[in-house]
């Protein structure tokens, strides 16, 4: 991945904005921001992040590549869509945030211990195995991501929730043993792989 990062750095040396435009989902909208800040003010989690969308967009224009791609900000977006609803320029801000997160991850620049990012990876890996999310394993993977001791603590803290879910048949202990899958898991995996190839080719082409 860092090869890709180097290639991208080389390719877009003069303009990070162009890099974003070409490679980030909905990235072509970033140039249209007029820095009014309504997205920043509308974000319910705004005070929990280092950078708000408006500020990120300015950083992109200012060529602050490292700071943007390693920011935790886009990982904190909960997709509430307040910003999109209010943006006077109609920027699909939520999507841009996810696009930026995705791109940063591809380049290997996303913040290493950012929990949302970790969760996303765990979720993805979990999903890819059976083509279906294994709730139990997903939960456990999250609990134990920071080591065994911490995992036990987390599990204990959420014990009641787990029990209730089982009672309501929303989760089954049997899932621990593989769990059920979709009909054609390998077919899905092939599809995903192909999609990834197409996407990689596109980015490589851009690089």
């Amino acid at each position: 991945m860092s090869d890709l990062n180097t290639a991208m750095t080389e390719r877009y040396r003069s303009s990070f904005l162009k890099e974003v435009e070409a490679n980030v989902e909905e990235g072509e909208w970033v140039k249209m921001c007029m820095q009014c800040g309504v997205c920043a003010g509308s974000c319910p989690l705004g005070n929990a992040w280092e950078h708000t969308p408006q500020k990120l967009f300015m950083m992109i224009r200012a060529g602050k590549r490292e700071a943007v791609l390693s920011s935790d900000a886009m990982w904190m977006c909960t997709s509430c869509y307040n910003c999109i609803a209010r943006c006077p320029r109609g920027l699909p801000i939520t999507h841009i945030m996810h696009g930026l997160a995705h791109y940063a991850k591809r380049l290997g620049l996303s913040p290493k211990n950012q929990p949302t990012q970790q969760f996303a990876q765990i979720f993805w890996d979990n999903l890819m195995k059976k083509g279906r999310v294994n709730e139990l394993k997903l939960g456990l993977s999250m609990y134990f991501k920071d080591g065994f001791g911490q995992g036990i603590k987390n599990a204990m803290a959420n014990q009641k929730l787990g029990q209730n879910m089982m009672k309501a048949k929303r989760m089954s202990a049997m899932e621990l043993f593989g769990g059920h899958s979709i009909k054609d898991t390998s077919g899905l995996q092939k599809m995903i792989k192909k999609a990834q190839e197409i996407e990689d080719a596109k980015i490589q082409g851009n690089s």
Binding site: S14, K31, M32, Q35, M59, R61, R89
Partner: protein, 749 residues
């Protein structure tokens, strides 16, 4: 027309006038004291029957002078618009019954007020004659346009399209002006997304094909004499030949110059050929001829360009422009697009503080710039450092950090300065020698053209007076075309900074005014704001002492002087404000329907009760455009006005003759209140200087008062606005209190 005068009075008893006042007493005053040959009452004079009655008398009984005692002169104007007689109005409704309480104990003083207003109106009427034009006027439909840029060309084309011939006087060898150097212009039509053709070539072609338009290239105006309707202009060509042409009206469209940023060291304009102004960029791009845009220093293709906005403008610093050219950001977007069109990969960055792209067109163009990947950064540039690669240091205001960027070319957004010629009223600069040593060397003042453009053969200077910063208008909000020289209209960036679309609209507006001025001069009618007025001041030369006050004080430069110092009046330059009349110490200037005498007669015919009656008299001279309407509105609200007051509307406080003050004091008035408009930088006086002149003159009234042994507080001058509905009556009532405090005037006989 026979000189036989016939005076007729009409008293309306409607709107409560008949109930509150004794109309038969008013009628008898009108006939016996007021010497009206007839006087009729009508229960509603303004209705069709009442108006017809007056019309019939004019037609059948040869009535030449009409006195209407009814409502304010501002009410029912259309009904009482008898243009073929001299007309005066006694204001019994707003002036009397609406400002006095309806109670028995006030009946006597209220009736006295009404009696006096009828006396005043009759007396005024007797010293009036029906205004008629001088008969000297000429209709000349040809318009002179000075300046052959976008504005001037448009003005000529628009005038010609209305059937009025135009002459364009252009200093250079070609039409087109500054725009001829431009690649493209800011878009003027929806969707406002691409720079568009300037239209210069098409305009030149249409002018060449137009029989009504004559072009004088390499020519300047050597002399402009005369007045609207009969301007006589010497047009000098480079070769030294002079032709004389006559014109009905003039449009000055001499455009602008760009601010010279050499003195602003931080922008490095003089330190590198690659730091240029937005004006110079047009030429640079033009020279590239559609190929790669190359920087001046080494001919290397420009791959990164920075636009530094708002250079030397919006500034309180000495030597910089305090205003803003308004269109610099739109120009920067347009110019960034030049680079993008040539090379999509060229980095274009606009460093601005407040991005000024107003209106529908502006905001559309801003978005269009963003679409094309023009980078907009809210930043304050502190320095441009010359070098192989230019370094632009700036504070990024959003990211709140000092930073810098590299560019091959830096374009400075410098402001537009009107090319307006010298201000006739410029105060000679006082040079502080110490300051000169320290500052002059560092900061050059903005250069202003000092050569005359119009070479007006006017007593008050060669060019259009400036309002501020070299812009040549006066009441620029309500009446943007009104310069202080009648029949000469400024258009384009001379009037305020503007883009080409606005300049073209402006040219059409100026052409409208010029055509109107030519037409009305042909009829002997006044121009704005007393449009259509046929009266004009007449000068009784045998009484003139050549003091030159009228020629100096006329706000519109209407009066020249002959070699002996006698005033030479130019009717069609005059706006009919009467400032000359107010200025004249020997009272030789008067209008047919407004003169020292018409007001003096009103003052004299007020019945001044003897001292022991304890009924003071307060004279109020109120500007007819602001103070008088404020009093009318106060009356509508039922605000009380002291019954001792007698209000006389004046055309402008500038027309107030000092003799009115001394005469009224001598005849026993106890107090005098003068109400004019705001003066000073943000003046509201419709005749620009009238109110200021009046304030100045009244400053000397103290001498008169002390020579008469009277208290100074008996005469007061106020600035009163049309909205001073509560304050205007209060100022009058305050004077009544003052009089009560200091006692009645000893000059009652």
């Amino acid at each position: 027309m026979s000189d036989e005068k016939k005076f007729a009075g009409y008293i309306c008893t409607g709107c409560g006038i008949g109930d509150r006042l004794d109309p038969s007493q008013l009628e008898s005053i009108a006939t016996r004291e007021g010497k009206m040959q007839s006087c009729k009452q009508h229960e509603m004079l303004c209705n069709s029957e009442g108006v017809q009655m007056i019309r019939d008398d004019i037609a059948n009984d040869a009535v030449t002078h009409v006195m209407i005692a009814a409502c304010s002169r501002r009410a029912k104007v259309e009904a009482f618009n008898f243009t073929d007689v001299a007309l005066t109005r006694a204001n019994l409704r707003e002036g009397v019954i609406w400002v006095r309480p309806d109670a028995d104990e006030h009946q006597e003083t209220t009736q006295e007020m009404a009696d006096d207003y009828v006396r005043m109106a009759c007396a005024e009427l007797r010293s009036m004659s029906k205004p008629a034009s001088s008969g000297e006027q000429q209709l000349n439909k040809t318009i002179m346009v000075v300046g052959g840029g976008i504005t001037g060309m448009t003005a000529a084309i628009e005038a010609a399209a209305a059937g009025y011939p135009a002459h364009i006087i252009e200093k250079s060898g070609a039409l087109g002006g500054q725009a001829a150097d431009y690649i493209k212009s800011i878009p003027t039509r929806s969707p406002y997304s691409e720079p568009q053709d300037t239209g210069v070539a098409a305009m030149i072609a249409s002018i060449e094909a137009n029989d009504l338009i004559t072009v004088h290239l390499n020519s300047t105006v050597a002399k402009t004499a005369g007045a609207p309707g009969r301007f006589s202009v010497d047009i000098a060509t480079e070769s030294g030949a002079v032709v004389t042409e006559t014109f009905g009206a003039i449009i000055q469209a001499t455009g602008f110059n760009l601010y010279d940023p050499s003195g602003l060291m931080q922008f490095g304009y003089s330190s590198s050929p690659d730091i240029i102004t937005n004006g110079e960029l047009e030429k640079l791009v033009k020279a590239s001829n559609g190929g790669p845009i190359k920087r001046p220093s080494d001919g290397k293709e420009v791959k990164a360009v920075a636009f530094v906005q708002n250079v030397g403008q919006s500034s309180t610093e000495k030597g910089q422009l305090s205003y803003h050219s308004g269109i610099g950001d739109l120009i920067a977007i347009k110019q960034a697009m030049y680079f993008k069109a040539q090379n999509g990969d060229c980095d274009t960055t606009i460093l601005f503080n407040n991005l000024r792209t107003p209106g529908a067109a502006g905001e559309d163009f801003y978005r269009a710039g963003q679409e094309k990947m023009v980078t907009f950064s809210k930043g304050e540039v502190s320095e441009v450092v010359a070098g192989d690669s230019l370094e632009v240091k700036f504070k990024d205001l959003i990211l709140d950090e000092e930073t810098s960027m590299q560019a091959d070319l830096v374009v400075l957004d410098v402001g537009m300065m009107p090319n307006s010629g010298p201000d006739p009223y410029a105060v000679p600069m006082v040079i502080d020698e110490d300051a000169e040593k320290t500052e002059e060397a560092e900061v050059k003042a903005p250069t202003v053209t000092v050569d005359s453009i119009l070479n007006l053969d006017y007593r008050q200077g060669t060019d259009l007076p400036h309002l501020k910063n070299g812009f040549t208008d006066s009441h620029f909000i309500c009446f943007p075309y009104e310069t202080r020289r009648t029949g000469i209209y400024a258009a384009g960036p001379l009037r305020r900074p503007m883009d080409m679309r606005q300049a073209q609209d402006d040219a059409a507006g100026a052409a409208m005014k010029a055509i109107q001025a030519a037409e009305n001069a042909g009829k002997g009618m006044a121009a704005h704001p007393r449009a259509g007025d046929l009266s004009f001041p007449k000068f009784r030369m045998d009484g003139c002492t050549q003091c030159k006050r009228c020629t100096v004080e006329c706000p519109f430069g209407a009066i020249n002087e002959d070699e002996k110092g006698y005033p030479m009046f130019n009717e069609s330059r005059c706006r009919r404000c009467g400032t000359c009349m107010g200025a004249c110490p020997v009272r030789v200037i008067s209008f047919e329907n407004y003169s020292v005498e018409t007001v003096n007669q009103q003052i004299k015919n007020v019945e001044v009760p003897e001292e022991f009656d304890e009924k003071p008299r307060i004279l109020v001279l109120a500007c007819e455009n602001d103070a008088y309407p404020a009093l009318d509105q106060a009356a509508m609200n039922g605000v009380e006005i002291n019954p001792w007051a007698r209000v006389i509307p004046v055309r402008c406080l500038g027309s107030v003759s000092l003799s009115w003050i001394t005469d009224s004091l001598n005849s026993g008035y106890d107090g005098i209140v003068l109400m004019g408009c705001a003066k000073g930088d943000d003046y509201q006086c419709h005749f620009v200087r009238g109110s200021a002149m009046a304030h100045e003159r009244m400053g000397k009234v103290g001498d008169t008062l002390s020579s008469l042994n009277l208290e100074p507080e008996r005469v007061v001058v106020y600035e009163v606005a049309i909205t001073d509905v509560e304050r205007a009556p209060k100022l009058i009532n305050d004077m009544a209190e003052t009089v009560e405090k200091i006692g009645l005037s000893p000059f009652k006989f």
